[in-house]
């Protein structure tokens, strides 16, 4: 039981990272029906940008006291802004011109963008794993025989806070409503007076910024990164988005946490070599019984 609870905590923190990345996949798919293969690499860039900011701030290890809050806030915000801008630039340069092209064209372009970002990062930091400073003190809190690390709490809290902010934005603001309208019907959205280019750019900005936050968190959580880090994580986050129902925000969060939990439990009770097998088997099983994903809607667009 203790082992189970321990893995529950581990799985939730892992899932928080997947969920933050999955939101970007699902938002972009929801609005332009594109699987943005470059998104996993934007997440890696988030870790790289965080590292660069920490280096600028002269942080090489654990920070304590009031400085900790400043360092964490500046790094997260910086990584979110830089990743958000990266997303906007990628959309502007690579995807916008192809918006009315056959679906395969932007898809291939996205794979190309992924390679470009990966190679830029390879050029930046080389092919070896790069150490990431611990930044936050990491006392383990004991709850019975279960220990929770401070960084795990940070991951979960940050993920939940960002998700709540996103939900409020999308469902309770005018821009959020414009995003949902654009996702549902682009022609009609334009006829309402919505500038869909701006709205789509905003979607990339937000989705990529969330990946940037995930990038910082993963650096602190794992203590290292490398230029291909986003490949596997991106694939699992994409799986999470599909599992929850692609295009659905709550679904991406649920999917992220489920995948994290599945991975943690498999590693504990079966073997970590089996974790990918189990994760993708869960995906296949869910899709057999619910092809639109756990929370995917099947309401027809036209009646």
């Amino acid at each position: 039981m203790d082992v189970f609870l321990q893995q529950l905590i581990n799985g939730l923190s892992l899932g928080g990272i997947y969920a933050l990345i999955a939101l970007g996949y699902t938002m972009v798919y929801g609005i332009i029906e594109l699987i943005n293969f470059a998104h996993g690499d934007v997440y890696t860039l988030g870790t790289f940008f965080s590292l660069a900011i920490l280096t600028l701030l002269g942080v090489t290890g654990i920070v304590t006291g009031p400085a900790l809050i400043v360092v964490v806030a500046v790094t997260i915000l910086g990584a979110m802004i830089l990743c958000g801008l990266t997303g906007v630039i990628v959309e502007r340069l690579a995807y916008r011109r192809l918006r009315n092209a056959p679906k395969l064209a932007p898809l291939i372009t996205a794979i190309g963008m992924s390679f470009i970002l990966e190679n830029l990062m390879l050029y930046w930091h080389g092919p070896s794993p790069i150490p990431f400073p611990a930044v936050i003190p990491n006392p383990a809190v004991g709850l019975g025989s279960v220990t929770i690390q401070a960084k795990q709490i940070m991951v979960i809290v940050l993920a939940v806070v960002l998700m709540v902010v996103l939900q409020v934005f999308v469902y309770n603001t005018k821009l959020g409503k414009a995003m949902r309208a654009t996702a549902q019907d682009k022609d009609a959205a334009q006829l309402m007076g919505i500038n869909i280019n701006t709205t789509i750019a905003l979607t990339f900005l937000i989705g990529s910024a969330l990946a940037g936050a995930a990038g910082f968190v993963s650096g602190v959580y794992y203590g290292s990164t490398w230029f291909l880090n986003g490949f596997a994580a991106g694939l699992k986050a994409f799986t999470a988005a599909v599992l929850g129902g692609i295009g659905n925000l709550a679904g991406a969060m649920l999917g992220g946490f489920l995948i994290g939990l599945t991975e943690a439990m498999t590693t504990q009770f079966i073997s970590d070599q089996w974790s990918n097998v189990v994760v993708f088997s869960v995906l296949v099983l869910v899709l057999i019984f619910r092809p639109t994903g756990l929370l995917g809607e099947s309401l027809p667009n036209k009646v």
């Binding site: 409503k177 549902q184 022609d187 007076g193 919505i194």
Partner: protein, 238 residues
Amino acid sequence: MALLEVENLVARYGRITALDGIALTVEQGEIVTLIGANGAGKTTTLRTISGLVRPAAGTIRFDGRDISKLAPNDIVRAGISHSPEGRHVFPRMTVRENLELGAYTRTAKSEIAEDTEQVLGIFPRLRERYEQKAGTMSGGEQQMLAIARAMMSRPRLLLLDEPSLGLSPILVQTIFGVIRDINARGTTVLLIEQNARQALAVAARGYVLEVGRIAHSGAAAELSASEAVRAAYLGGAA
């Protein structure tokens, strides 16, 4: 000066020429109808006016200003609202949210509330369905919502594409009554209809489109009486 002046309008889809030099005018306060067979270019004409289709040549002047190069969202702000063919309501949003989006370009909350009351007064059915998702409503209800939503931007010119398509005869009467009503309140209307007889009954003037060109134009009564129009669009001699 006419409210809307279209001159020599050409629109193409790839190599296919959909509009081959159209000219038409709509005066302030009029109802004008465009009739013609499927594929004649009626819908393309409206989509070009509202900016969804880029004209290949020609000018579109609204209130004296050339709008042919503006983006659709700027054309809405200029005062043109378009209720498109096939309704295009936002299916996963409620009636309330659809109407709110109709007022997207506006900021004065009290005026928006006033106009919401007005359209709900015109379409009581929408009040009953206020918190229902648009995609779960019947075709007729969606059509009412599409018209009501287009009115929410408080347009000076309302473009209506086939508002009676697929509706029961009673609802068709209702919709045409509403169009008269909207016009009486001061909104200019450019109307496309398959139902040419009804359209000419409600409109002051009409244009007949044939494969991308204007074949006939004139006062609605004249068009209704014209042998050529009767034979082609009004189901032969009456």
